[in-house]
C-alpha cells in the first residue's frame, strides 16, 4: 500500500463525497454520513477528515458562492480525485477478496 492510508472514517466520508451529486461541502457530507452510519458525527470531525484527505490527494476542492444562511461566508466544494477513487476501489477489492474466501460456516452460524 501507499504511504497514505485511507482510514475507516475517511473511507466513509470519501464515499459520502462520491455519493453526493452537487453541493458537496461539509454540512451535506455530514448529513450523508450520519444517515448511512446511524450515528452522530460532529461537524469538526468532518472538516478534519475532508482537509486531511485533500492534503493526501484523495480530494480536490474549490471555493463556491457565498450564502446568506452562512453569514456571508463562502463554501468549499469537494470532489473526489482519481487517486481517491482508486483508493476506494482498492479498499473495496481488498474487502471483497476477503469476503470471497470468507468461511460460510462462520457466516451461517452468525445468521442463526
Amino acid at each position: 500500500m501507499k504511504g497514505t492510508f485511507l482510514g475507516e472514517f475517511e473511507e466513509v466520508v470519501l464515499l459520502a463525497v462520491c455519493v453526493l451529486e452537487k453541493e458537496v461541502y461539509a454540512n451535506p457530507v455530514r448529513r450523508k454520513v450520519e444517515e448511512h452510519t446511524n450515528r452522530k458525527v460532529n461537524l469538526s470531525t468532518i472538516h478534519s477528515a475532508l482537509y486531511r484527505m485533500e492534503r493526501k490527494g484523495f480530494l480536490t476542492s474549490q471555493l463556491g458562492a457565498a450564502d446568506k444562511r452562512r453569514g456571508g461566508k463562502r463554501k468549499r466544494y469537494f470532489n473526489v480525485s482519481p487517486y481517491g477513487l482508486k483508493a476506494l476501489e482498492e479498499m473495496r477489492r481488498v474487502r471483497e477478496s476477503f469476503w470471497e474466501i470468507f468461511p460460510k460456516t462462520l457466516l451461517n452460524s452468525d445468521l442463526t
Binding site: 461539509a26 469538526s44 478534519s48 482537509y51 492534503r55 450564502d67 444562511r69
Partner: protein, 866 residues
Amino acid sequence: MISPPRFPLWLLRKVAGPGIVDEIEGDLYEDFMDNIDEVGISKARRIYIATAFRSLRPYLLTYRKEHRKPKSKDMIHYQLKVAFRAFRKNASHTLINLLGLTLGLAGSLTIILFLIDDQIQDDFLQNKDRIFRVESISEKDGDVSRQVQMHSSLLPAIVEDVPEFEAYTRISSNTETIILGEEGNRRLLNQTFLAADPDFFKVFSFELVDGDRNSALTTHNTVIITTSAAQRIFGESNPIGQYIQMSDRSNTQLEIVGLMEDPPGNSSLQFDFVKPMSTVIGQNEKISFRGSFYLSVPVYVLLSQGSEANAVTEKILPALKAHTDNPRFVEISYSLNNFEALRYDTDVSDAIVATTDKRIINMFALVAILIIVLAVINYINLTSARAILRGREVGVRKVSGASRKSLINQFLLESLLICFVSLPLAILLMELALPWFEEIIGHQLFFDYHVSSSFLILLFLFIVLLGVISGLYPALLLSGFNFTAVLKGRLEHSKKGVLLRKVLVVFQFVFSIALLAGITLIQNQLSYVKQTTLQYNPDQVLILNGTFGQFRKNYQTIKNQIQQIPGVLQVSMAGQAPGDDFFGTATSPQFPFGYNRFIVDHDYLELFNISVKEGNSFDPNSDSTAAQVMVNETFANAMEEDVLYSSKYRFQGKNNSKIVGIVEDFHFQSLHNEVSPMVLVPVEALSWVSKVVIKLETTEFNQVISGLEKVWEESYPNQVLDYQFLDDRLDRQYRAEFRMAEVFRLFTVLAIVISCLGLLGLSTHTAQIKTKEISIRKVLGASVSQITRLLARQVYLLIGIAAIVASPLAYYFVDQWLQDFAYAINIKAGTFIGITGLCFLVAALTIGYQTIKTARANPVDTLRND
C-alpha cells in the same frame, strides 16, 4: 437576526488565521441555523460552542503555514539560500573576493585609526582655540626667519598693557637627572621637566589630582609630579611633601606640592614634572631687555573670550616699545599662532609641541581611500565577470516573474554578506597588525575604537555603503539583460562591462605601480642620504652626549681615559656630533655671509675620513694651534679672495686666527639642509666641548661600555651616561622619512597583493570562459605556448598601459618630496622600467599557473560535453 456565540468563533479565527477559517465558520453558521430550526436555539448554541472548540485541530496550523502569503522575510530567506549556493559554487572566487575585501578593509581601518588619532590630538584641552603661541618674524636682507623662542621678559613686560592676554606661560622643556636613594646606593633617573609660569594650568587645562592649581608653580623650588613618575619614584606612598634631589651644580631639592594625572596619550605636551619658571630664570626676576645674555623660551598665551588674534597682535609692539627700543626686539613683527595649527607647522619647532607633517597625514588619507577602492574594484570586476556566468539563473528567475528590483536585491544581498563577513576578519587582521604598525609609526595609538560607539556605528554604515557600492554595478548590469538573450546563453560572450573592467584593472595597476615606484625612489633617496652623510662605518662609532660645555675643563683627561679603554680605536672631542644642529649662525662684519662654528680636535677629521683639500690639519703638538682655524670648501669658495694661510680674520677671542687648511665639504646636519660655510675651531682655542666621538675597533661593545661607565662614575657620579651609536642617531634624524617609507612599503605590498588577487580572479574567469575556444584552437593545431600567449597578452597589455600612466604620476610626487632635500638623487628612467618589469613578473606569476593549466588541458575533456 440570531448570531452564534462570539468567543469560540474569535478563538477559532485567531488559531486558524485568515483563509480556511471562512469556510469553516460558514459551515458552522449554517449548521447553527439548521439546528435552531431542528432543536431550538439554546441547544443549537451549545452544539455550536462544542463544535467550534472541537474544530481547533492541528491541521489548521499546518494549513495556515502552507497557505499564507509570502512575506519579505521569506524572500530574504530564499535569497540567502541562493546567495550561499552561489558562494559555494564559486568557492575560489568567493574566497578571492573575501580576501581582497578583508585585506583592503584591514589596511584602511588601520590608517583610519591613525587619522582619527591625529584628529583627536589635544581634544581634552579646553579653550584650545584660544591658546596661541607668540612668534616673531624678522626680515634681514630678504631672508625671512621665524622665531618661536621669545625673550623671557617679553610677556611679563607687555601683559599689563594687553588686557586680552587672559593668561600666559613661558615653557621650557628639558631632560633632567634625578638622584634617587642614599649615598652608596644611588640611582639616577632621567625625566622630562617642564618649567612654566603660574598660569600654566590656566592656559593648559590639565587636571590636578592633589594640590592647588592656582598656587602651584608660584613657589620657588617646588614641583608638580605626574602619577606615573610618582609611581616610579615613590611607589605607593604619597608623594606630596616629599623632596626630589636634582643632579645639578647646586644640588637643588624640589618639594613636591602637586600631583597630576599623566598627560593623556593624545596630548602634544608630554612631561613627567612641571616646575616653576623661577628654577630656570632665577628668583626675583626683573623685566629687562638690557644685557647681552638673555633667555629665550616659547611663550603660550590664552586670549580672552571673543578677542581677535590679529587685533591683539597689533598691541604687542606698542606695549613693548615702552620698555625697550632695542631694534632686535622692536624692529621685528610679532604674531600669534593658534595652538591647533602648531603641530602641523614643521617650519619651526619649539621642542614643546611635537610637529607632524600635514602632507604625510594627507598622503595616509589618500592611501586609505585608494586601498579600499582597490578592494572594491576587485569585487566589482570579479563579481560582474562572474555574474555573467549566472545569466541562466537570472533568466529563469525573470521568467518566473522576478522583478528587476528583486534581482538587484539578490546581488546587493550577496555583496553585503561578503562585506559583513570580511569585517570581523579585517578587524582581527588589524588587531594583529596594530602592534607592528605602532612600532613603525613610533608611538602607540591613543584612540580606542572598542569603546567608541559612534565609531562602531559609522563603521557599520560604512560597511553597508561598501556593500551597496560594490554590489550595485554587477546588480544593475545583470538585472538589465534581456532575458531571452540570457536564456539563450549568449551572455558569456557579452561585451557589456568588459571595457569598464579593463579600465578598472588599469587603475588598480596605475596605483600599485605608482606606489611601488614611489617607495623605490624614496628608499633610494634615504640610502643615498645615509651613504653621503657617512664615509665610515656608522655602527662602529659611538657618540657620548655630555651637557653643554661639560668637558670644557677636563677634555684632555677624559679623552686620555677613554683612549685607554680596550677596544677603543680613536677618540675625538667635539662641540657637536653628526646629526646635531649648530647653535645658530655666527655673523661677522668681516664676511658677507653667516657661518657655523664647529669646535673639533685634530682627531675628528681623521676619525671621519674627512680629507684636507689644501693646507694642513691641526697639529696637536704645536703651541700655536689655539690661534689656528680651518674652513670648509663652501666657506673658501664664498670668499672672493684666497683665504688659505691668511691671518687677517678674527674668528674667536680678541686675536686674529690663521686659516691653516681647507677641508672638503662634509654633511653634518641632515641632508634637508645645504652644507653651509663652516669654520673648524680647535678645541685648544675654544674648549666648550660636549661630545665625545669614539671609534671602536671591535664589535665587543660591552667591554667598551663598561669601561666608559667606570670613567663616567669617577668623573661625573651625578650624571647619567648618555651614549648612542651613530647610525641610530642618524636614523633618528630622518625618522619621519624612514617611518613614512616603512608605512608606504607596507601599504604598497598590500596594494599589490590586492591588485594581484583581482588579476588572479579575472584570469581564472577568462580561462573558464575561453575553455572551448582554446580547445578548438588546440584541435586545430595551436601549441601550448601560443595559447599561453593568447591568454596572457591582454593582462600584459593592461599592465603596460598602467605603467605608462603611473610613471609620470610617481615621478611628479617623488619629485615634490625630493624638493625638501638639499641633496637628492636623480630620478632615473631605469627605475620605472625596472618596476614595470617587476610588475610583469608578478602578474606572470599570478596568472601563470591558471594560464598554463588552461593551455595544457586536454581538448577531449572540455569538448566532450557538446
